[in-house]
C-alpha cells in the first residue's frame, strides 16, 4: 500500500513539474535542447571557417548558450555538400550554416539544386571587402597605371584568385568588361595561397580579401591599389607605413565603377519557426557585442553591417540577382 501511495505522490509531483515546465515553456522563447551543428561550406583555415571558429570560441568563452556549438566543415563540391546537408535537415533547428558567395555561385555555375530560398535566413553578420593588390616591387601606384599596362599586352598579366567561377573570377571578368583589359585568370585553392603567389611574383595581381593579404601588406611585400566598394573602409589605424585601410581609394574614385562585397551571413535549416530564428538572432547580437568580435572585424577590415528579418531577405534576393547578372555576362551559368 505504501508503495502505491508513493507512486501516486510521485505521479502528482511529476504532473506538477510537467505543468510548470509547459507553462514556462510557453512564456519563454525556444532554446536549443542539444548540440548545435555549425556548418562551414568551405575548407578549414579559410575566411568562413575562421569566422565560424571565432564565433564558436566566443560563445564558449562568454557562456552565451547552454548547449555546445560544434563547427563542421562540409566543403565538397564548392560548398554544395554543406548547403545540401542543411537543405535536407528540414525542421531540425539545431543546424546553422555560415555562407560565402558560393551560396549563389555554386548552384548557378554547376546546376546543383539548392538556393537560399531552401534555407531559413537568420542574420547578416558582416560583409567582406575585396581589394586589388599588386606586388610592392612593381611600379604601379594606381589602378589606372596597372590597367593601362595590362591593356598593352592582352593575356600576359595573370590574375590569381580563389576557385573558378566564384567571386574572384567574377570580379576579374567585371574588371575586364569595364576596362577592355584582358587577364589570364589562374584559380588556386585558397586566399592565403593566392597572396603568397603574388609575393613570389608567380601572378601579377589578385583581388584578395583584406584578411588574406594584410600580413604581406604590413611586411611591405604587397601594395593595395583600390577597394571594390562604394565607400572607403571605415578604419583609420595605420597598417603599413602611413597607410591604413581607410586610405585605400575605392575603385570608383579612380574611375573603375565596380563594387562587390561578399556576404558573411547565417542561415538555418528549412521549416524553422520565428522563435527559433529569434533565438539565433539574439545569440549573434550577443556575439557582436564582445570585444573579441570587434577586434576580429577590425583586423579583417570587414564591413560590419548587421541585418535580420525582411531587410536581410531583401538584401540576399538583390545579391542573388546581382550574381545571376554578373555570371550571365561572364558566361558562367550552368548549361541547363
Amino acid at each position: 500500500m505504501r508503495s502505491a501511495k508513493q507512486i501516486f505522490a510521485m505521479g502528482g509531483a511529476l504532473a506538477a513539474a510537467l505543468a510548470l515546465f509547459v507553462t514556462t515553456d510557453a512564456v519563454a522563447q525556444w532554446k536549443p535542447t542539444r548540440t548545435i551543428e555549425f556548418i562551414v561550406p568551405a575548407g578549414t583555415g579559410g575566411g568562413a571557417d575562421q569566422m565560424a571558429r571565432m564565433i564558436q570560441g566566443i560563445v564558449q568563452k562568454h557562456n552565451l548558450m547552454d548547449q555546445p556549438l560544434v563547427v563542421i566543415n562540409k566543403s565538397g563540391g564548392a560548398g554544395a555538400e554543406g548547403f545540401l546537408d542543411v537543405k535536407g535537415s528540414r525542421n531540425n533547428p539545431h543546424k546553422i550554416i555560415i555562407t560565402l558567395s558560393n551560396l549563389f555561385t555554386t548552384p548557378l555555375a554547376t546546376g546543383v539544386p539548392f538556393s537560399w530560398r531552401d534555407l531559413t535566413p537568420v542574420a547578416m553578420l558582416a560583409l567582406d571587402e575585396f581589394v586589388l593588390w599588386v606586388n610592392a616591387e612593381t611600379p604601379y601606384k594606381t589602378p589606372t597605371e596597372y590597367i593601362n599596362a595590362v591593356k598593352k599586352e592582352p593575356g600576359k598579366y595573370k590574375m590569381g584568385g580563389t576557385g573558378s567561377k566564384q567571386e574572384d573570377q567574377i570580379i576579374t571578368v567585371a574588371l575586364e568588361r569595364a576596362t577592355g583589359a584582358k587577364f589570364t585568370y589562374v584559380p588556386y585553392r585558397g586566399g592565403g595561397e593566392v597572396a603568397v603567389q603574388l609575393v613570389g611574383k608567380h601572378v601579377d595581381s589578385t583581388v584578395n580579401n583584406p584578411i588574406e593579404a594584410v600580413a604581406q601588406w604590413r611586411a611591405g611585400q604587397l601594395r593595395p591599389l583600390c577597394v571594390f566598394d562604394t565607400k572607403r573602409i571605415a578604419l583609420t589605424d595605420k597598417i603599413a607605413g602611413n597607410m591604413g585601410w581607410g586610405d585605400i581609394p575605392t575603385c570608383a574614385e579612380t574611375g573603375l565603377k565596380i563594387d562587390y562585397v561578399m556576404l558573411r551571413g547565417i542561415f538555418m535549416s528549412p521549416g524553422a519557426t520565428k522563435d527559433q530564428v529569434d533565438f539565433y538572432v539574439g545569440l549573434f547580437q550577443k556575439v557582436r557585442a564582445t570585444d573579441e568580435w570587434k577586434k576580429f572585424m577590425a583586423e579583417g577590415a570587414f564591413n560590419t553591417t548587421f541585418m535580420t528579418g525582411d531587410d536581410y531577405r531583401k538584401w540576399v534576393e538583390a545579391n542573388e540577382n546581382l550574381h545571376r547578372d554578373l555570371m550571365k555576362e561572364a558566361g558562367f551559368l550552368a548549361a541547363n
Binding site: 578549414t44 570560441g57 563547427v71 563540391g77 545540401l84 555561385t105 554547376t110 546546376g111 589562374v186 613570389g200
Partner: protein, 499 residues
C-alpha cells in the same frame, strides 16, 4: 649565434609546470587521435581549438602543436599492427611495417617507426631554428610549375619499384587518377564524373579509400586464411626497444636522405604524404637489398616515417613566415593564430618573439616527450596482437566504420569503405598493387591542378617545366628517376660489352 640565444629564451618561456602539463596532455591526446583512423590531426586540433581561447597564445600553441606531434607518432601504430593507416602519411609505413608485424616483429617495427619519426622531426626542428627566414625565401620561388615538377618526381620515384608487372602498376595508378577526378573540378568549377548522383559531389575521400582498401581488405584476406593472424605468437619483450636501437644506426644514410626529402617537401607545401612515398621509393632504389622491401624491411619503415615527421615539422615554417599552411593541420593552427590575435606572416618572427621561440622550443621538448610516451607503450601495443583475431577483427571493423563516418559525418562513406574493402581484396587476389592507386588518389588532384595552372601560365607549352633552373632541375631529376632502371641496365650492358 643570435638564434641560439633566442632559442634559450624560448625554453625559458616554455618550461613552466603549466606549459609542460599542457604538453603532456597534448601528446597523449594526439596519439589517441592518430590511432583512430578518420579522426586525424586536423580534425583533432579543430575540435580542441576553441578550448584554448582562454589560454595564453603560447600555452595554446604548445598544446595544439603537441597534439600534432602526437598524431604524427600515433599514425604509425595502426599501420604497423593492422595495416590500417590512421593518417595519409602512414600509408607508406604499412608496406613494410605490417609484414614485420605479421612475422611477429611488431615491437621492432614500432620502435623503428617511433625512433625514425623522432630523428626526422629533430633534424627538421634544427633546420627551423637556424634557417627559417632563408627557407621562407626559398618557398616563395614555388609557383605551379615547380609544384607540378615535385609531384612528378614523387610519381616517378615510385614507378617501376613494385614486384608486380609495370602494366598492373600503371593500371592501378590510372584507376587512382580516375577516382581523384570525381567531384568538382577546381579549374573550371564544373562537376565531373558524378553522373547526376549528388552524393559523389565531394569526390572520393582519400581516407575512406585507404581505410577500406587496406583495413577492410586485409581483414577479408585474413578471414579467408582461416583467421590465422601470424603476429599472435609474438612474445612481449621489454628489451625490444634497446635491441632495435642497436640495429638502427646502420640505416643512417636512409635517415638523412629521408629527413632531407621531408624537410624539402614540408617547406614547399608538398606535405608529409608525398614526402613519405618519395623517400620510401628512393630508399628502395638505393638499398643494397631492394628485394627485402615490401616483405618486412626495417629500412622500409625508417624511410617513410623519418620523411613524414620531418615534413610535418618543417610544414610549420611556411605557416609561420608566409601564412600558407603546409598541411591540413597547419591550416587549422593558422586559424588559431588569427583568433589569438597573432598575424602569421613575415613579421611574426620580429614582433612575436616569445610566441615564435616558445613554439620552436616546444617542438624540441614536445618531440622528446612524445618519444618517451610512445616508446613506453611499445610492449603494450605489441601485446594487442596476442588477442585472438576472431575477437579483434570485429573491433577493427567497427573502428574503421567509425573512422569512415567521422571524415564527413555521412553514412554513405561507410558503404563506400566497404566497397573499397572488396576492391582491395580483389586487387590483392589478382596481384594488383594498391600503393600506386592510393598515391594517385592522394596526389592526383593536386598534380592536376598544378599542371593545368602551369599550362595557363605558358599558354599550353610544356617548356614551362624547364623555364628556370629550379623547375628545370626538378623536372630533369624526375625524368632521370623514371628511367633509372633502364639507364642502369644500359650502363651494365655497355660495360658487359666492353668487358
Amino acid at each position: 649565434m643570435e638564434e641560439l640565444g633566442a632559442l634559450l629564451h624560448g625554453f625559458a618561456v616554455v618550461i613552466t609546470p603549466y606549459n609542460l602539463l599542457m604538453m603532456l596532455i597534448g601528446i597523449t591526446l594526439g596519439i589517441l587521435i592518430g590511432v583512430l583512423p578518420g579522426l586525424g590531426g586536423a580534425n583533432g586540433v579543430a575540435i580542441l581549438l576553441p578550448l584554448t581561447f582562454s589560454m595564453s597564445p603560447t600555452s595554446a600553441i604548445i598544446m595544439l602543436s603537441c597534439i600534432y606531434w602526437g598524431a604524427l607518432f600515433g599514425g604509425a601504430i595502426t599501420s604497423i599492427l593492422f595495416n590500417i593507416p590512421g593518417e595519409p602519411w602512414s600509408v607508406a609505413t604499412t608496406f613494410d611495417g605490417h609484414p614485420l608485424s605479421k612475422q611477429g616483429r611488431s615491437g621492432e617495427a614500432l620502435t623503428a617507426a617511433f625512433t625514425s619519426s623522432f630523428v626526422g622531426a629533430f633534424l627538421a626542428v634544427i633546420l627551423v631554428t637556424f634557417l627559417s627566414p632563408l627557407i621562407a625565401k626559398f618557398a616563395l620561388q614555388f609557383g605551379p610549375p615547380e609544384f607540378f615538377a615535385i609531384q612528378l618526381l614523387t610519381f616517378c620515384s615510385f614507378v617501376g619499384m613494385g614486384k608486380e608487372s609495370p602494366f598492373k602498376t600503371i593500371a592501378a595508378m590510372m584507376l587512382g587518377f580516375a577516382l581523384a577526378a570525381v567531384g568538382i573540378d577546381t579549374m573550371t568549377g564544373q562537376l565531373r564524373l558524378i553522373f547526376g548522383w549528388h552524393e559523389l559531389l565531394t569526390g572520393f575521400h582519400f581516407l575512406i579509400a585507404v581505410i577500406g582498401l587496406f583495413g577492410v581488405g586485409e581483414i577479408l584476406l585474413t578471414m579467408e586464411e582461416g583467421l590465422a593472424f601470424k603476429g599472435a605468437s609474438a612474445g612481449i619483450n621489454t628489451r625490444v626497444v634497446l635491441d632495435t636501437w642497436k640495429k638502427l644506426p646502420k640505416y643512417w644514410v636512409t635517415s638523412l636522405r629521408s629527413a632531407a626529402i621531408g624537410c624539402w617537401m614540408g617547406v614547399t607545401p608538398g606535405g608529409a604524404t608525398p614526402a613519405s612515398f618519395m623517400s620510401y621509393g628512393l630508399a628502395k632504389r638505393f638499398s643494397p637489398t631492394p628485394d627485402k622491401f615490401g616483405r618486412g624491411s626495417v629500412e622500409g619503415v625508417v624511410a617513410p616515417e623519418t620523411a613524414a615527421h620531418a615534413a610535418g615539422t618543417s610544414a610549420l615554417v611556411p605557416m609561420l613566415t608566409l601564412g600558407i599552411p603546409g598541411s591540413p593541420t597547419a591550416a587549422v593552427l593558422l586559424g588559431g593564430l588569427l583568433i589569438w590575435g597573432l598575424q602569421p606572416g613575415p613579421l611574426l618572427f620580429v614582433e612575436q618573439k616569445d610566441f615564435v621561440w616558445g613554439l620552436i622550443a616546444s617542438m624540441y621538448l614536445g618531440n622528446i616527450a612524445g618519444l618517451i610516451v610512445v616508446l613506453t607503450t611499445v610492449p603494450l601495443f605489441a601485446a594487442v596482437l596476442r588477442v585472438p583475431f576472431s575477437i579483434i577483427a570485429p573491433i577493427i571493423i567497427v573502428i574503421c566504420a567509425v573512422g569512415a563516418y567521422t571524415v564527413k559525418n555521412a553514412m554513405i562513406d561507410v558503404y563506400m569503405m566497404l566497397i573499397f574493402g572488396i576492391v582491395g581484396y580483389v586487387f590483392k587476389k589478382l596481384g594488383y598493387p594498391l600503393a600506386p592507386m592510393v598515391l594517385a588518389l592522394v596526389l592526383g588532384d593536386m598534380a592536376e591542378t598544378a599542371f593545368r595552372q602551369s599550362m595557363l601560365f605558358s599558354q599550353g607549352s610544356v617548356g614551362v617545366f624547364w623555364s628556370n633552373p629550379l623547375v628545370g632541375s626538378i623536372s630533369t631529376l624526375a625524368v632521370v628517376t623514371l628511367f633509372w632502371p633502364l639507364l642502369q641496365r644500359a650502363v651494365g650492358f655497355l660495360r658487359g660489352k666492353a668487358g
